[in-house]
């Protein structure tokens, strides 16, 4: 396959970027999208051109680092698939593919396709955890949890924090991510003690990071590689509003 790539190049956070065109020839349809970038980068090195910086780690769809906005969609054309799990057979010979970084004021571009997603880390640090004393884990059967409830919590816990929801949303809203993180704990007894504080603090942090407000367009869920459901956003709204009313702190 022969592919024409238009890739966002930007030297650093303060530089002005632009789309640059690269031709990549002899691409195997069995290559992953990132392998195609590897091949191109190796060539660029030999041509004395700075290789394209892009984020990646596990390359098996579980770490959430591979952020690429491919032909107008985060993680490219497939449903429920991360960029690293996307293969060149999803494209046609002769295609032109436009690759851009996530765009959000809360995710500033560091270089080329790499954006700073530490805003997500700060949101998690503000409440996306359960505080437990160390020691032996108790017997799982001491905490009976209904199958429905466990399934919902598990589906929410599938979020890999990739930020595609923010990238796809016209408001660059992080509600799908935050709602998944709040839901996975709100649905389980382990999350109960810190439930109110968690919802209040994580929403406050999300707002402080400069993400937009959710207008329920649904672009996030449509583009999420882990197919996190919009039901979680309704749950987050409930959690936040009831915590706001019920929490004794004035």
């Amino acid at each position: 396959m022969n592919i024409t790539l238009k890739v966002w190049r930007q030297k650093n956070q303060n530089a002005k970027g632009a789309l640059e065109t690269y031709k990549v020839s002899d691409v195997s349809p069995d290559m992953s999208f990132l392998e195609m970038f590897d091949v191109l980068n190796e060539r660029l090195v030999t041509e004395d051109i700075e290789p394209i910086a892009f984020d990646h780690d596990c390359r098996e769809g579980i770490c959430g680092t591979c952020s690429m906005y491919i032909n107008g969609r985060p993680h490219g054309p497939l449903e429920g698939v991360t960029t690293c799990q996307l293969h060149m057979r999803s494209f046609k010979d002769g295609d032109t593919i436009v690759v851009e970084p996530w765009r959000a004021s809360a995710f500033p571009v560091i270089k080329d396709l790499v954006v700073d997603r530490t805003a997500f880390d700060r949101i998690i640090a503000s409440g996306g955890f359960v505080s437990v004393n160390t020691g032996n884990a108790q017997d799982a059967n001491n905490l009976p949890i209904g199958k429905d409830q466990a399934d919902k919590a598990f589906a929410a816990a599938a979020c890999i924090g990739c930020g595609a929801c923010v990238a796809a949303c016209k408001n660059a809203s992080a509600m799908l991510f935050v709602s998944a993180k709040v839901s996975q704990l709100a649905l389980l007894p382990q999350g109960e003690p810190e439930r109110e504080k968690r919802a209040l603090n994580m929403v406050a942090q999300m707002d402080a990071e400069g993400f937009g407000a959710c207008t329920n367009t649904g672009a996030c869920a449509a583009e999420c590689p882990k197919e996190i459901s919009l039901d979680n956003i309704a749950r987050l709204n409930r959690e936040f509003l009831s915590a706001s009313v019920a929490n004794p702190e004035v």
Binding site: K6, W8, L19, Y69, N71, G72, R73, V98, E100, R103, A104, S105, A106, A168, K170, N171, A172, S173, M175, V203, A204, M206, D207, G210, F211, G212, A213, C214, T215, N216, T217, G218, A219, A222, E223, L230, D231, I233, A234, R235, L236, N237, R238, E239, F240, L241, S244, V245, N247, E249, V250
Partner: protein, 259 residues
């Protein structure tokens, strides 16, 4: 009260205010439509004109209508403000964007702005004229035994202090009512094809705004449920985005083509 301000100015709280005011405006749409259906009665405007007097004099309704005006303005400006803030969350856009959301959900602010322009035109067409301009008066004489009503237009210069002059003549067996003839003003306004077109197009904006808006408001309030959410979605589409706009659009079309 610090917590309340904090809640309502958070990103979720801001949207809750949009949802609550939006749903209030939806109930207004229902009430306003049912009242205005009296325009379709062929009674020389008797039912409609006396209804207009009731709506502008009954104290409870007066209070509700001023609350309604205030909430429309709040909803409009709050919505524009949220949209503006949301745009700031993405200062640099994409060169290529597929937009996997519905066009309605992405156009709420522009549809809202069209509605705001429409509301200004609509209020100055009828509300302003009814309250502040000289309107023709009409006299309805009801035969108390048969219930028949005869309609007589009052002279051009006629005016009265009370909104509704009402007198019963028991000996003659009649009741006479004199009121402003808003019905005639409406009928006259809708002889203008441009105004008719503008009104009908504005109802498309209502429809598109509510296709997304009605169900979105419930999601914002956290009210979703596998059993009831499909019902809410259907209610929003079939009643609020189709039936109600058609009902409203029928009024200018009725006067233009059938009167």
């Amino acid at each position: 009260m610090g917590w309340l301000t904090k809640t309502l100015t958070s990103s979720i709280g801001k949207k809750v205010l949009m949802a609550l005011t939006g749903l209030f405006l939806c109930t207004f749409l229902v009430v306003h439509l049912i009242g205005n259906l009296q325009l379709f009665k062929s009674d020389g405007g008797y039912a409609f004109n006396t209804y207009a007097v009731f709506m502008t004099t009954f104290p409870v309704i007066k209070v509700v209508s001023y609350v309604n005006y205030a909430l429309i303005l709040f909803h409009a400006f709050w919505g524009i403000y949220i949209t503006y803030k949301n745009r700031q969350a993405r200062p640099v856009g994409y060169a290529v964007n597929k937009n996997s959301s519905s066009i309605f959900s992405r156009s709420m602010a522009i549809l809202g702005l069209i509605l705001l322009v429409y509301l200004v035109v609509h209020m100055s067409d009828f509300w302003y004229r009814y309250h502040y301009e000289h309107l023709p008066y009409v006299k309805y004489t009801e035969n108390l035994t048969t219930g028949d009503i005869t309609t007589t237009a009052m002279d051009e210069g006629y005016t009265q202090v009370v909104k509704k002059f009402e007198i019963s003549d028991v000996a003659a067996g009649t009741k006479t009512i004199i009121v402003k003839d808003l019905y005639k003003v409406v009928g006259y306004a809708f002889q203008n094809i441009l105004l008719v077109l503008f009104y009908v197009l504005a109802m498309f904006a209502v429809s598109f705004h509510l296709i997304h808006g009605f169900q979105s408001a419930f999601q914002t309030l956290g009210l979703n449920h596998p059993k009831y959410s499909p019902l809410i979605k259907n209610l929003g589409i079939w009643i609020f985005a189709i039936l109600i706009p058609i009902g409203y659009a029928a009024m200018p079309l009725y006067f233009y083509f059938l009167k």
